[in-house]
């Protein structure tokens, strides 16, 4: 089975601190990492390859330094990588992002399965996976949490829903997005790390994908950010002093007085 895994380089929010006064991110010295959900996508792809054989290509779009996440993916054991990088891609919304990613996947021969993480932790849209599937005209299942059957013809998966899950059969070629329940990512292998060191990441720009500058990046985006502002700290924040029991009683009284807790049942 030929698998493409889409990965994104994001700021490492685990090491981001909140500025206590402004409640904004302090980003100084923040490292870049593979989007945590994409590690589950990589793990899912590796497990599928173990079961039915085949090869995995890690695909990313970003600035030149995003080659790092491709190398990292090589370390986890994927076979090849491809980075889409071009000044023209900058400022892309999900429409313009899927234009580039789908074009790149369309150029790869015989892709049976595309795996994405459920969403990126910086944008939180969860829109790129389904967007790629639609552009390529392929069936999809989003929010996959488990695999019940894996073969070259189809997958049977469990799809997480708000009130439970669905068991869905997906004929291939198709696309899935995965959630963390698919399985904890394995650590990179020593062999993989060695290979990653030497791996030359192939890079493609808009022209190589057959896309005009106005189809990608900011110019190719339908949405436009018009304002960015700090969230308003809702309500006042206070400490309840005094002995713990007293504070416990007091907080209940305050919640009742402010009609946050209703006593009537």
């Amino acid at each position: 089975m030929n698998i493409v895994v889409c990965i994104k380089q994001v700021p490492d929010t685990a090491h981001v601190r909140l500025d206590p006064e402004t409640h904004t991110l302090k980003r100084e010295g923040v490292k870049s990492i593979i989007n945590p959900f994409d590690l589950f996508a990589l793990e899912a792809a590796l497990r599928i390859r173990e079961q039915v054989g085949g090869s995995i290509i890690a695909l990313s779009m970003g600035p030149p330094q995003a080659a790092e996440v491709i190398k990292e993916a090589i370390g986890y054991g994927v076979d090849e990588g491809l980075l889409l990088s071009d000044r023209a891609f900058a400022g892309a919304d999900t429409w313009a992002t899927t234009a580039a990613l789908a074009a790149a996947i369309g150029q790869i021969k015989g892709v049976d399965l595309i795996v994405c993480g459920k969403q990126a932790v910086d944008g939180d849209t969860a829109q790129v996976g389904p967007g790629i599937a639609q552009r390529l005209g392929r069936p999809q299942v989003a929010f996959v949490k488990a695999f019940r059957e894996v073969s070259d013809q189809r997958l049977v998966v469990e799809r997480q829903m708000d009130d439970g899950f669905d068991v869905v059969a997906l004929p291939l070629p198709g696309l899935i997005t995965v959630v963390r329940e698919v399985g904890e990512p394995r650590p990179p292998s020593l062999k993989g790390k060695m290979r990653a060191k030497k791996y030359q990441v192939p890079v493609k720009g808009a022209a190589e994908l057959g896309l005009a500058p106005e189809q990608v990046g900011l110019a190719g985006s339908y949405t436009q950010v018009v304002k960015v502002f700090a969230p308003q700290a809702a309500g006042e924040r206070r400490r309840l002093e005094g002995p713990p029991q007293q504070a416990g009683t007091q907080v209940v009284d305050l919640l009742v007085d402010n009609q946050i807790i209703m006593l009537g049942s």
Binding site: V167, V168, G174, Y222
Partner: protein, 399 residues
């Protein structure tokens, strides 16, 4: 395309560097410099004290779809015949937007065996219901749902389409937006109309909720947004309110490629975190799995559900279904009680938009206190029993 910085006017104060949410600005030789990460959001231009930064106009391909598109639509999702609360919230908000624009409010309903559902949508404010009732739509298969929804959109051309940011909505709607070739804003918490331009102003948290961004879709139609549940207010329910029902027939060739083999509603342990009014969460400060007994007691007394931090889930104290945070569920209940939770960023991004946050922790420097409306420094095993006693007392059940 990046912002233009007038190097003469720039004083190198660095305010723009702080304000930029995209790390696109830096100071070099005491002057602001911009890189490719710029999205032209204008946050820097707004804050620059000397007016050194200007945002260039982006030339976009002409798109005349805004002309002639009319009406506000809501995607009325249902699963197994049950419409989630967010549908009523969308209709409430959609009604306000439609009235402001002076247009009809439409609702689109896809499924099978939908008797009585249209009346429900009329009662909640819809003027028109577009209903496709077909056994091929009985369960969610994104491809056929997309085909039908995109066809109805292209035929009737609404200017706005709202859907719930639920699992179903976030799986289907990005595909629909791509099919009709328009913009989509995810997980909005604010929606308003710019009356001059008749544009939908879509506000959403970005970067894990640390920054709010307002987004528009100036040319393509419909302007599409998924909307976070439990944020918009439901409108008044008017029993017997009438509307126009438009039946949508499927084409002979409409066929899903995926197949839903089984629908499992997890009744064993209902953890409807996303829809809960009250969430009581336990962290590592509980000391062990038995600590969740107390969490459960308080959750029950408050009519809420039990949440958990990643630390407790990874330690095996409680199931992952309870996890709140970046790799769990995002919640925004009326009341969030954090017990023994220190407040890792990944946890806080999943709950910081809660209306009221109570935090109990022995560490006065725990980050959770920076966002708690009511912070109690103390042992939760002393504080929580006192809360339970007081609740029982106030309810007249004796202490």
């Amino acid at each position: 395309m990046v912002v233009i910085i007038d190097q003469e006017l720039c004083t190198g104060c660095g305010e723009c560097v702080e304000a930029c949410p995209f790390e696109a600005l830096s100071l070099e030789n005491d002057k602001a410099q911009v890189n490719d990460a710029c999205t032209l959001c204008g946050a820097c231009a707004d804050i620059c004290p000397t007016g050194a930064i200007t945002v260039p106009e982006v030339e976009r391909a002409a798109d005349d779809r805004a002309a002639g598109a009319q009406g506000v639509w809501v995607f009325a999702e249902q699963r197994q015949g049950v419409m989630p609360e967010v549908v009523a919230e969308l209709l409430g908000q959609g009604r306000r937007l439609a009235d402001e624009l002076g247009v009809e409010l439409g609702a689109v309903l896809l499924g099978h065996g939908l008797d009585g559902k249209a009346g429900e949508l009329f009662a909640l404010g819809a003027d028109v219901v577009y209903m496709a009732d077909d056994e091929r739509l009985a369960a969610l298969n994104d491809d056929i749902y997309t085909q039908v929804l995109a066809r109805v959109i292209n035929e009737h051309r609404p200017e706005v389409l709202l859907a719930g940011a639920t699992s179903l909505g976030r799986s289907l709607i990005p595909r629909v937006a791509t099919a009709v070739a328009t913009g989509l804003t995810a997980d909005c918490t604010g929606l308003a109309i710019d009356p001059e331009k008749r544009l939908l102003l879509q506000t959403r948290p970005a970067f894990g909720g640390n920054i709010m961004a307002t987004i528009i879709c100036p040319q393509a139609r419909p302007q599409m947004a998924t909307v976070r549940p439990r944020v918009m207010k439901q409108g008044p329910r008017q029993e017997g309110r009438q509307g126009r029902l438009v039946q949508v027939a499927l084409n002979a060739g409409d066929q899903a490629r995926t197949q839903v083999l089984e629908v499992v509603q997890e009744l064993e342990e209902q953890v409807n975190l996303t829809g809960a009014e009250v969430v009581v969460t336990g962290g590592r400060g509980l000391g062990g799995p038995e600590g969740f007994e107390l969490v459960r007691k308080l959750a029950t007394a408050l009519g809420g559900v039990v949440g958990a931090t990643r630390g407790t889930v990874d330690a095996g104290w409680i199931g992952h279904a309870h996890q709140v945070g970046q790799t769990g569920r995002t919640v925004s209940p009326k009341l969030y009680v954090a017990l023994g939770v220190s407040g890792a960023v990944q946890h806080m991004v999943g709950m910081q938009s809660s209306d009221n946050i109570v935090a109990v922790n022995t560490d006065p420097n725990a980050p959770i206190f920076s966002i708690a409306h009511y912070g109690i420094v103390g042992d939760l095993y002393e504080v929580v029993p006192a809360m339970l006693d007081r609740l029982a007392e106030l309810r007249g059940q004796g202490a």
